[in-house]
C-alpha cells in the first residue's frame, strides 16, 4: 500500500443536511428571547439576576455531573442553558437565590441527567422542576404575593389567581391587548404574549418544534374554556383569559414541545397536545391549583409512550392474526 492515499471510510449516507442539537437549542433560546427581554424591562435588575443564575447554575449542574460521571462535557449543546432559561422565565422576579439553585438542580439532575442525559428524560425537565417547586413552596408561585413590591405602572395582578379567588368578574379589566403586551403579573418571561407567539411561530417555521403539539394544545385550551364559559359565564372566564395568561403560551410553544417527552407521530401529537390543553382548563376551572399547565403537561408526559404507540403500519409489515 506504499504511496497510496489514505482515504476516509464511513458508512452511507455521505451527506448530512446540517442540522444539529446545538442549533436547535440555541434557536429555541433565540425564540424565547423577546419574551425574556420584556420581562427584564418590566422587572429590571432582579429579573436579570434570576435569569442569569438560572442559566448559570443549570449549566454548572450539568458540568458537575459530567465530571462526577467522567463523561465528556455536554454543556456545549445548549440543552442545559435552554432548560435554565425557560425555568427562569417562569420564576417570579423576586425568587430567592436558593430556590433558583434547587430549581435547576431538580430540572437538570433529577429531570435529565439521571435518566441518561438529553433524550432519555421521560418528563420535560422544566415542567418537572416547576411541579416539584410548586408543591414544595406554593407561596413562591403566588405571583400576587411575590411581586407586590413592584411598581410597574399597570395593574399588577395575576389573572389566574384573581379568577380563582374572585370569579370571572375580577378579570374583566384585562383587555386582550394588555395581556398580549405583558401588562399582567406572572413569571419573568411568561407574560409577554406577543413575544411568545412570535417566538413560537419562528420555531414552527424553522421546524425546530412540531406545530401539531402547539396547535392542538391551544385548540384544547380554547375549546374547553369556551365550553365552560358557554355553560355558565358567571362562574367561568372566557377563552381569551385562559389563552393569554398563566403559562399557556410558554407551555404551548416551549414546554409541551420538549422533544424527549412528547410524541413524534401525527395522531399521537394531536392527542398529546389536545389532552394537555383540556387538562389545563379542567385543573384551572374545577381543580384546586391556580394554573394547570404544569400538571397537565406532566400527566401527558407520563402518557406519552402509550400514546405514541399509535403509529402507521410500516411498509411490508405482515400482521399475523392468531
Amino acid at each position: 500500500m506504499n504511496g497510496e492515499k489514505k482515504l476516509v471510510v464511513s458508512h452511507a449516507p455521505f451527506w448530512h443536511d446540517g442540522r444539529s442539537i446545538a442549533a436547535r437549542n440555541y434557536n429555541t433560546m433565540l425564540a424565547a428571547l423577546p419574551a425574556a427581554l420584556m420581562g427584564l424591562w418590566i422587572f429590571g435588575g432582579h429579573a436579570l439576576g434570576v435569569l442569569s443564575l438560572c442559566i448559570g447554575t443549570a449549566m454548572a449542574w450539568e458540568l458537575v455531573l459530567n465530571k462526577i460521571m467522567r463523561r465528556p462535557p455536554s454543556i456545549g449543546n445548549g440543552s442545559a442553558a435552554l432548560t435554565g432559561m425557560l425555568l427562569g422565565m417562569i420564576l417570579p422576579a423576586s425568587a430567592p437565590f436558593w430556590m433558583v439553585i434547587v430549581a435547576t438542580f431538580v430540572a437538570v439532575v433529577l429531570g435529565m441527567v439521571i435518566y441518561g442525559g438529553l433524550g432519555g428524560n421521560p418528563f420535560s425537565p422544566v415542567i418537572l422542576a416547576l411541579a416539584v417547586l410548586g408543591v414544595s413552596w406554593p407561596l413562591m408561585f403566588n405571583y400576587n404575593y411575590m411581586l407586590q413590591a413592584y411598581d410597574t405602572g399597570f395593574a399588577m395582578a395575576y389573572p389566574l389567581a384573581q379568577l380563582k379567588a374572585f370569579g370571572p368578574g375580577a378579570v374583566t379589566h384585562f383587555s386582550v391587548a394588555d395581556l398580549l403586551m405583558g401588562k399582567q403579573s406572572g413569571g419573568i418571561g411568561a407574560t409577554f404574549g406577543l413575544g411568545l407567539i412570535a417566538g413560537g411561530l419562528y420555531l414552527i417555521v424553522r421546524g425546530f418544534i412540531r406545530w401539531e403539539i402547539s396547535f392542538s394544545f391551544l385548540v384544547g385550551v380554547l375549546v374547553t374554556a369556551w365550553l365552560f364559559n358557554a355553560s355558565d359565564s358567571s362562574a367561568y372566564a372566557g377563552p381569551a383569559i385562559h389563552l393569554l395568561s398563566g403559562y399557556t403560551l410558554i407551555g404551548a410553544f416551549f414546554l409541551a414541545t420538549e422533544d424527549s417527552s412528547s410524541p413524534v407521530n401525527f395522531i399521537p401529537m394531536l392527542i398529546y397536545g389536545a389532552g394537555a390543553g383540556i387538562l389545563t382548563v379542567l385543573i384551572r376551572n374545577i381543580g384546586v391549583y391556580v394554573d394547570g399547565v404544569v400538571l397537565a403537561i406532566l400527566l401527558m408526559n407520563v402518557a406519552n409512550p402509550l400514546i405514541d404507540a399509535i403509529r402507521p403500519k410500516a411498509l411490508g409489515k405482515v400482521v399475523r392474526n392468531a
Binding site: 455521505f14 421546524g207 413524534v264 403500519k313 411498509l315 409489515k317
Partner: protein
C-alpha cells in the same frame, strides 16, 4: 451537499439529477485496464477447493467460477491471465473471493448463444453490468418484469444515459427476459425527461416524477403498482423481477451477438459541486484510480471516494478497488466536505420518522439497535421494512449513524438466522 432550507417543515426535498432524451451528455471512454479485479460472492476458505489457478487464462465476457459447485461467478471484462485469487471481505462483512486478471490481448470468450433460456442466463448473465440477479427468479413464479430506468442514487445520470442511447437493446433484452422467466408483462419506470426514449423499449412506460427516494424498487412497486413486498422478502416473492435498465440492454446484446458486454456506464462526481458530472464507459473491474485519471480528478489524503451515490454508496479505502457491476457512480468528496458523525443519544426530535418512506418508527428502532437488540428491533420496530435510502441519517439532528446501525442490524440478524 444539499443543506436544510431555512423553512424547515416537511420532508427533505432531494431531486434526482435531471436526464433528458438523446444526448444526455457526451460519454468518455476509459481504456482497458492493465489489471481488473472481480468479486465472487462465495467465501474463500481453502486453496484446495479452487478449480482455477493463478496463471490460468480467461477471455472477455467469460464467467470465472473459482469453485467446483459453480454457485457464483464473476464475468471477466478482460482477456488475460489470472494473477491472484484472494479472500475478500465486503463493506458489509460479506465473505467473498477476489480474482485479479492481468490483461493480455482482446479475445472474446464463449457467450450464451442466441437462444434465451433461463439456464443460459444463470450461467452467463448473473451479475452482468447493472447488477442483474436471476437466482431468485429461477425459484419463483415471475409474471412481470420491472425495468428500472430511474437512478439508484442522487447525482448519478448513468442509468438515464443508458436508457437514452440503448432503447433498442433494452427492447431485445426485455423480449429475451420474458422468454427466460415466463413473464407476460413488462414495465419500464423512467423519470419525466426520458419518457420518449422509453417508448422504444418495448414495455409499458410508467413515468416517475418524484424526488429521492421514490426510485427505490420497493417504493416504485408500492406507489406505481400498489404491490407491497413483504418485510424481509424480495420483489420476486410477489411475482416481479426487477431488471436494471443497463442489465436489460446487456441481455439484449448478449443474445444478439453471442457476447456478454463487459462495459458499464459510470457517472463521475468530482469535488467541485458546480461542475456537471460526466459519464464514462468503463470495463467492469477497472480500478477506481483509472477512472479518476481519465476524469482528471485528484484525490488527496483524508478525502473520501465512494462507489455509488451520496445516499446509498459505499466508501472505499483504496483507489485500487474496482468498478463493480452495480456501480452507477463514483463520488469524490474533499476532506473539508465530510459531515460529522456523533455518538449522541437520540433526542427524539422525530425528523427521521417524518423522513422515512417506509413509515418505520426510526426513533425507537435506533434505540434497540444501539443496544444490540436486533431480534427485538425486527419483531417490534420493523427493521426489515427498511428500504435503505439513508434519509434517517441524513436528517438526524443528533448526527447518529442510523443507517449504519440498520445495516449492522440486518447483517447480525442474518448471521443469527444462519447459525440457528
Amino acid at each position: 451537499m444539499i443543506r436544510r432550507a431555512f423553512i424547515g417543515q416537511g420532508r427533505p426535498k432531494l431531486p434526482y439529477s435531471p436526464v433528458a432524451d438523446k444526448g444526455a451528455g457526451s460519454v468518455l471512454q476509459v481504456p482497458q485496464p492493465a489489471k481488473a479485479t472481480f468479486f465472487v460472492d462465495q467465501p474463500y476458505k481453502d486453496r484446495a477447493e479452487l478449480v482455477i489457478k493463478e496463471g490460468g487464462e480467461v477471455k472477455r465476457g467469460e464467467p470465472i467460477a473459482p469453485f467446483a459447485d459453480f454457485k457464483s461467478y464473476a464475468l471477466s471484462s478482460v482477456s488475460g491471465v489470472i494473477s491472484s485469487i484472494e479472500p475478500y471481505t465486503g463493506a458489509r462483512g460479506q465473505k467473498m473471493t477476489a480474482i485479479t486478471v492481468e490483461a493480455k490481448g482482446d479475445a472474446w470468450g464463449q457467450g450464451p448463444g442466441s437462444t434465451p433460456t433461463l439456464e443460459a442466463g444463470l450461467k452467463y448473465l448473473e451479475n452482468c453490468a447493472g447488477g442483474l440477479s436471476l437466482v431468485r427468479a429461477a425459484n419463483s413464479k415471475i409474471n412481470t418484469l420491472l425495468v428500472m430506468g430511474v437512478e439508484r442514487d442522487l447525482l448519478a445520470t448513468a442509468v438515464g444515459q443508458v436508457v437514452s442511447e440503448k432503447a433498442p437493446s433494452i427492447k431485445k433484452g426485455v423480449e429475451a427476459l420474458k422468454k427466460m422467466t415466463g413473464a407476460q408483462k413488462a414495465f419500464i419506470v423512467v423519470p419525466p425527461g426520458l419518457a420518449k426514449s422509453a417508448e422504444g423499449c418495448g414495455c409499458e412506460v410508467k413515468v416517475l416524477n418524484a424526488p429521492y427516494p421514490a426510485g427505490i424498487d420497493r417504493l416504485v412497486l408500492h406507489s406505481l403498482f400498489s404491490v407491497t413486498v413483504p418485510a424481509g422478502g424480495f420483489p420476486e416473492d410477489v411475482g416481479f423481477l426487477v431488471v436494471p435498465a443497463e442489465s436489460a440492454a446487456v441481455v439484449g446484446e448478449a443474445f444478439a451477438t453471442g457476447r456478454v458486454p463487459d462495459e458499464k456506464m459510470v457517472t463521475l462526481i468530482g469535488k467541485d459541486a458546480s461542475a456537471k458530472p460526466l459519464n464514462f464507459r468503463v470495463r467492469i473491474g477497472t480500478p477506481v484510480a483509472d477512472v479518476l485519471k481519465i476524469g482528471n480528478v485528484t484525490v488527496n489524503n483524508s478525502d473520501r471516494v465512494v462507489l455509488g451515490g451520496p445516499m446509498r454508496g459505499k466508501a472505499v479505502y483504496s483507489l485500487k478497488m474496482p468498478v463493480e457491476p452495480d456501480t452507477d457512480a463514483i463520488l469524490v468528496q474533499g476532506a473539508d466536505d465530510l459531515p460529522e458523525i456523533a455518538d449522541n443519544s437520540c433526542i427524539n426530535c422525530g425528523e427521521c420518522v417524518r423522513a422515512c418512506p417506509a413509515r418505520i418508527q426510526v426513533n425507537m428502532l435506533a434505540r434497540f439497535l444501539e443496544n444490540a437488540q436486533y431480534e427485538e428491533a425486527a419483531a417490534r420496530y420493523d427493521l426489515l421494512s427498511c428500504v435503505e435510502c439513508g434519509l434517517c441519517s441524513f436528517v438526524c439532528t443528533a448526527k447518529i449513524p442510523i443507517f449504519q446501525y440498520i445495516t449492522l442490524g440486518k447483517h447480525e440478524l442474518a448471521r443469527l438466522g444462519a447459525e440457528a
